[in-house]
C-alpha cells in the first residue's frame, strides 16, 4: 500500500493527502479498538475478587458481561478494518496489477509469435508434403496404368 509515501504535486497531491488522512483514521481506529479490548480485559480481571455482599457480586457479574460484549465488539471492528484493507489492496494495488498485466501481455505476445511460427512451419511442411505427394501421385505407375 503506497500510502503516505510522500506528498506530490499536481493531481496526486489531493490523492496523497486523502490517503494519508485515511491511514491516520485507520490507525486511530486500530488504537481505539485495541485500547478498548485491553481496558475491558483489565477490568474483567480486576473484578475477580469475591466480595462479601452478594449484591456486589451480582453487580460485578453484569459488568463483566457488558465488558465481554464490548471486547467482542472491538474485535469485530478490527476484523472489519482488515476487510477494508483487503478491499483497498484489491482496488488500489496498481503497481502489482500493472506488473502482472505486463507480464501476461508479454506471455501472450510470445505465445502468439510462437503460434505464428508454428503455423508458418506447419504451412511449409504441408506445402512440402503436398508437393511430394503430388509428384509421387502423378508419376506413379498406378496413375499411369489408370490412364492408359
Amino acid at each position: 500500500m503506497n500510502k503516505g509515501t510522500g506528498v506530490g504535486t499536481g493531481p496526486t497531491a489531493a490523492a496523497a493527502a486523502a490517503a494519508a488522512q485515511k491511514q491516520k483514521t485507520m490507525m486511530q481506529r486500530v488504537e481505539t479498538d485495541i485500547a478498548n479490548i485491553v481496558d475491558n480485559f483489565t477490568q474483567l480481571v480486576n473484578v475477580a475478587r469475591v466480595n462479601d455482599p452478594p449484591v456486589r457480586n451480582s453487580q460485578e457479574t453484569f459488568m463483566m458481561e457488558m465488558r465481554a460484549a464490548r471486547m467482542v465488539q472491538a474485535a469485530d471492528s478490527l476484523l472489519k478494518l482488515v476487510s477494508e484493507l483487503k478491499q483497498t489492496a484489491i482496488f488500489s494495488g496498481f503497481a502489482s496489477l500493472n506488473d502482472h498485466v505486463e507480464q501476461r501481455t508479454n506471455e501472450f505476445n510470445q505465445q502468439a509469435e510462437k503460434t505464428d511460427r508454428m503455423l508458418a512451419r506447419i504451412g511449409e511442411e504441408s506445402a512440402a508434403s503436398l508437393k511430394e505427394l503430388e509428384s509421387h501421385y502423378y508419376s506413379s505407375a498406378q496413375r499411369t496404368a489408370d490412364t492408359e
Binding site: 462479601d52 452478594p54 463483566m64 458481561e65 465481554a68 476487510s83 482496488f91 496489477l97 502423378y138 492408359e148
Partner: protein, 645 residues
Amino acid sequence: MDGNLEISLDKLPVKRLDAIEENGAERYPPDSSYDEKGVSLIRRIDFAWAVEDDEERERKKKQKKSSKDASAAWQWQSMVENLQLAHQELSVIIDLINTVEANDAVTVAGMTRPKPLPNEVLSDLAVSAATKLQCYRQLGKYFKQSAKAFKEQIAWEARFYGALIRLQQNWKVKRQRVAASASSNEGFTIDLFDNSLYDLAAMCRPSSLSTIRVEHDSAGMLAINLTPNSCRSLHFGFLGVHSADIPKNTSKIRTHGSVEQRIRESEKESISDDDYVKETHTLLREVHQSIFNDQVFEMLNREAFNQSVGVNVTGIRENYLQLSIGQGNTLFISLMPSNKGDNQDSADTQNLESAIVPSHSFDTENKWVFPNRTSCEIYLQQIFHENAFVKEKDKPNLSGTQASGQSGKVEPSLLGHRIFSSIVLTELENVVCRVPYLHLMTHPTWHSRTSSWTVFMKVPQSILHAESQSPKSDFQNMKEAIKSQFRTKVVLNDDRINVEGEGAPNVVGLFKSSENICSVNKYECDLADLPVIILLQVASQVIYWLHEEALTVGIKTNRDFLCLTFELEQGETVSLVAHVNPGDIKGGISWWLVMEDGFAEDWKLQMDMHDGASDYRKFLGHLTLDVLYSTSMDLVSMCGGGRNH
C-alpha cells in the same frame, strides 16, 4: 401442645405501693398505657414450645428416614428442609411484624442481623465464589464462541478475497459503493465489456452479460451465477450442405458447459480453491467469447446490408443471417447457445436450413468444394479482431467505419475465392488426370485471395537417357538447351483466372531470331475455357518439344500452333497435328497424321475408310510422349538419312 399445661399467674391489676419515701410520700408505679400493656403481653409470649415441637418433629422425621433406605436419600433433601424451616420462621416473624405494625402498638425499631456463624460465613463465601466462577466460565464460553465465529469469518474472507484477487489479475473487478449490507455480494462486479473499441462502442450496445455480479455461495466462496444458455457461439454453414461436424462443434462446447454444471451441482466443497478459481476463469472466458461472438455477429449484420460489399441478404431471423455471395452460393451465420443439447442443436439447424429454400441445390459430391466451416468461423472472428481491436490500437486515426467496411469486403471475397478456387482445382485435376504426361503442382501462396497451380509437362526419362547415350557428343551440348519440362502456370486472383504458359508460338517469338527461346504467353480466361486453354497450351508445348528434338538431329521442321510439319523427299509433307477435346474421356489431346501432295493417291488406295478419317489424314489416337517421340523420329528418318548431320 402436649398434656402439660403451663400456667402463668399474673399479678392483679391493683396498684401496689412501690416505695415510701421518708417524707411519707408514696410512690406508685406509673400507669402503663394501653400500648405498653400490649407490648408487655407480647413480650411474655414464649415461642420455645413451638421451636421445641419443631425440633422434635424433625428428629422424628430424620429417624424415620434413616430407618428407610439411606442410599435413596435425595441429596438436596436436607437443603429443602432447611429452606422450609427458614421459610416458616420468616413467615412467622413477618406475620408478627405485620400484626404489630397493624395494631400500631409497636413499631420495629431496627433489625440487626444476627452475627453469622463461621460456617455460615464460609458457606456464603463459597456461594459467592462459585457464582463468580460460574460467571467467568460463561464468559469463557462466550469468548470461545466469538473466537470461533471470527475464525470462520477470517477464513471465509481469506478464501473470498484470495479468489477475488486472483480473478482481478485477469479481469476487471469493480466495486459498487452502495449499502450492501442486505445483499450478500458486497457490491463486487466483473466488467467484461471492452471499452477499447472506441468507435464500435458507440455503435454496439453492451451485452447483458457484460457486467457479472460476484456473489457468495453457501460455503462463503465467491460464485458467479449465470442464466443457462446465456453463452452463445457463432455457427457458420453453407445451405444445402449437411455437415457432419455440427455435433462435434456443439459437443466440444457442451463438454465445457457440462463440466461447469457438474461442478456447481455436486462435490463443490471437495474441489480446491485453485481449481475453483480456474473454473471461474474458464466460465468468465466463455462469457467473454460469447460477447465477442455477439459483436462479430453484429458487425456482420451491419455490413451485410452494405451494398458495396457484394453480398445479398436472403434471409434474416433472430440470431440468424442468410447471405448469398458470388455465383449463387448461399451461406448462413447464426448465434446459438453453447449449452444446448446435441439433438436440439442439430434439429434447430436443420429446421432453419430446410425452412429457407436455397438458391440452388448442391450435390453431395460437390460439398467438398466449400471451405471448412470451422475455418470460416475462425476467419470471421479474426477479421473482426484485426479490424476492431488491432487497428484501433495501432492507428487511432483510422475511422471505425472504414475499418469495418474493409473487413466486410474481405469476407465475402475470400469465401467466393475459396469456393471458386476449389472449382478451378477440380477442372485442372480433370484435365491432368486424363493426360498421362501432365503433372499438377499446387503452390501455396499464403494469400487468402490468390491461388496458384502449375501444370508440368515432363519429357520422359527414357527419352532423355536414350539421347544422352548417343555417341554424338556435339548434340549433347544442344541437349542442354532443350527443355525437359514445360510449365503452364494458372493463377487465380479473386475470381480472375490468369494462364501463363511457355512453348506456344506468339507474336514475340516471331520477331526473335533464335528459335531456342521459349516464349511465354499470358492471358486471362473463364472457367469454362480453362480446360481448353490448358490442353491447347500443352499441345503446343509438345509440338515445340518435337520441333526441338527434330532440330537436334538436324532436321528442320515447320512448327505451327498445333502442327509440326516434316518435309519429306519429293516435296511431300507429313504433319503431326494435335486435336484438343476437353470432353474426351480417354484423354484431352489426340493426334492426327496428315499427309499432303504425292502420297495422297497411294493413301487413298490403302486407307480404310471406316475409321472416319479422310484420305489424307490418319488418326493416331491419344499418344504418350514416348510414342510421339518415336513417331517423330521415324518421320525424321523418312525426311532423309543424309540430313542428320
